[in-house]
């Protein structure tokens, strides 16, 4: 790769400045970018490595909410006990990205901004109601995760904006989340389908809030509001779960490709959403 310049800014402001250059690409863990460079799909002139920015890979708890640095590795996320307890679905999704080796590098920021429809952490983050903290030349802004991906490989971030962190809200008492994906093997595959569900229950076990998101069934991960609505007010009875399945299947607009057929993806998205809903419910009760 001739002529690629490597920069490792020491602050967000420096990173934003470095991105003014034509052909600059942000790198967090690099587990997608380096592959794309290797196969010639990405030809950046400048690689802006975020990892030397203080705090960019930190995970902090703040009054019950969590701030996850955009470059925090999957391994670090998995090792954070407080986060694991509060957001097990987000953590399990982050930990499903690639191998142990990839976990040592891959980040939530990269997983989102690479904008693959099959990114594992994205449906879990959307279900969790996570927000992105984005820095640009004019300062910081926030946006919900579901507003970032716009098409495969495309995001709503301006070329000189940097995703700095994710903000996960404080959990209600009876709440839980879960993420499931289908791959033909047990590891090392890209999701054929993924489903993230986050629920909040009342003391009686009735669902008072629910968010359902599915991945790899549309150009971007989908927030399926009708699926969440199917659960709200229910106690996860068969009828509600069938409605959730129908809503997911209706929302899914997958393609057939080397990783799976459209028909299969649609069916399995519904199955996984139901299973994830039940796991989230059990976690909420625990």
């Amino acid at each position: 790769m001739s002529g690629v310049e490597y920069l490792s800014p020491g602050s967000v402001a420096e990173a934003v400045k470095a991105l003014q250059v034509e052909g600059a690409r942000v790198m967090a863990g690099g587990t997608d970018l380096l592959v794309q460079m290797r196969v010639g799909r990405a030809k950046p002139r400048v690689v802006v490595d975020l990892k030397r920015i203080p705090g960019i890979a930190d995970i902090r708890e703040q009054d019950g909410a969590f701030i996850i640095g955009a470059a925090a590795s999957g391994a670090a996320i998995g090792e954070h006990e407080g986060l694991r307890k509060a957001w097990p679905g987000v953590v399990e999704a982050a930990n499903l990205i690639g191998s142990t080796q990839v976990q040592g590098r891959a980040s939530l920021g990269g997983n989102l901004c690479n904008a693959s429809p099959a990114a594992d952490s994205v449906p879990a983050l959307i279900a969790a109601g996570a927000a992105c903290v984005i820095a640009g030349p004019k300062g910081e802004r926030e946006a919900p995760v579901e507003a970032i991906q716009t098409a495969p490989g495309k995001t709503s971030l301006a070329a000189n904006e940097v995703l700095v962190a994710f903000r996960l809200p404080k959990r209600a008492v009876y709440s839980g989340d879960a993420y499931l994906r289908l791959i033909p093997r047990t590891e090392m595959d890209i999701a054929v389908v993924g489903a993230g569900v986050s629920v909040t229950l009342d003391a009686s076990g009735k669902c008072v809030d629910a968010r359902v998101s599915v991945g790899a069934v549309a150009p971007t991960a989908l927030l399926v509001e009708a699926a969440g609505a199917a659960l709200i007010g229910s106690s996860f009875e068969e009828v509600a779960l069938a409605k959730l399945e129908a809503a997911v299947a209706a929302a899914a607009k997958p393609i057939s490709d080397k990783r799976g057929t459209a028909e299969y993806r649609t069916k399995v998205a519904a199955v996984l959403a139901r299973r994830a809903a039940l796991i989230a419910r059990d976690r909420a009760k625990a």
Binding site: S2, E5, L34, P44, R105
Partner: protein, 161 residues
């Protein structure tokens, strides 16, 4: 071509090498430092043959840029044996015949070391999932998993907890 001087520690020794901005750590290890024990099976992080440990974390050297190594502590297969004394993992891989062609072996050993560094008593399932990023096409993994489990037992005996 913009090549930068990189200073890092490799297997306990300070090293200095020139790295291109887009060059992988694997290429730097193999071509600049001539440490060819780390192998390229895919170059895209899918086989684990280039597994090395950077600041205590297992990574694929093909998925890290060489200039990122600045100031980092890197462990490769060449440093696994201690002054010519085989690590218990190396010993058990040989005892179990846990290698056939031996090409994936350096990566498997480094991945196994990273596992045992943090989990001295892994279950078979934990070993299998931890090593899922290291493809071996020869052995069917049976003897590899047994070797790692036995090496873990050896290490536990060496360092009673």
């Amino acid at each position: 071509m913009s090549r930068k001087v990189v200073n890092a520690t490799v297997n306990g020794e300070p090293v200095e090498f020139l790295a291109g901005g887009g060059q992988s750590l694997l290429d730097a290890l193999r071509d600049e430092l001539r440490l060819t024990g780390s192998k390229e099976g895919c170059g895209t992080g899918d086989c684990g043959a280039c597994s090395v440990i950077v600041d205590g974390r297992l990574v694929c050297a093909c998925l890290m840029l060489a200039p990122e190594a600045e100031g980092k502590r890197i462990e490769t297969i060449e440093g696994l044996a201690d002054n010519g004394h085989l690590h218990p993992l190396q010993h058990q891989f040989l005892e179990h015949a846990a290698l056939q062609c031996g090409f994936c072996t350096p990566g498997l050993l480094m991945a196994s070391k990273a596992l045992l560094d943090r989990n001295p008593d892994p279950t078979e399932t934990e070993v299998r999932y931890w090593l899922a990023g290291n493809i071996c096409r020869c052995t069917g993994y049976d003897k590899v998993v047994r070797a790692v489990m036995d090496a873990a037992a050896d290490l536990r005996q060496e360092k009673p907890r």
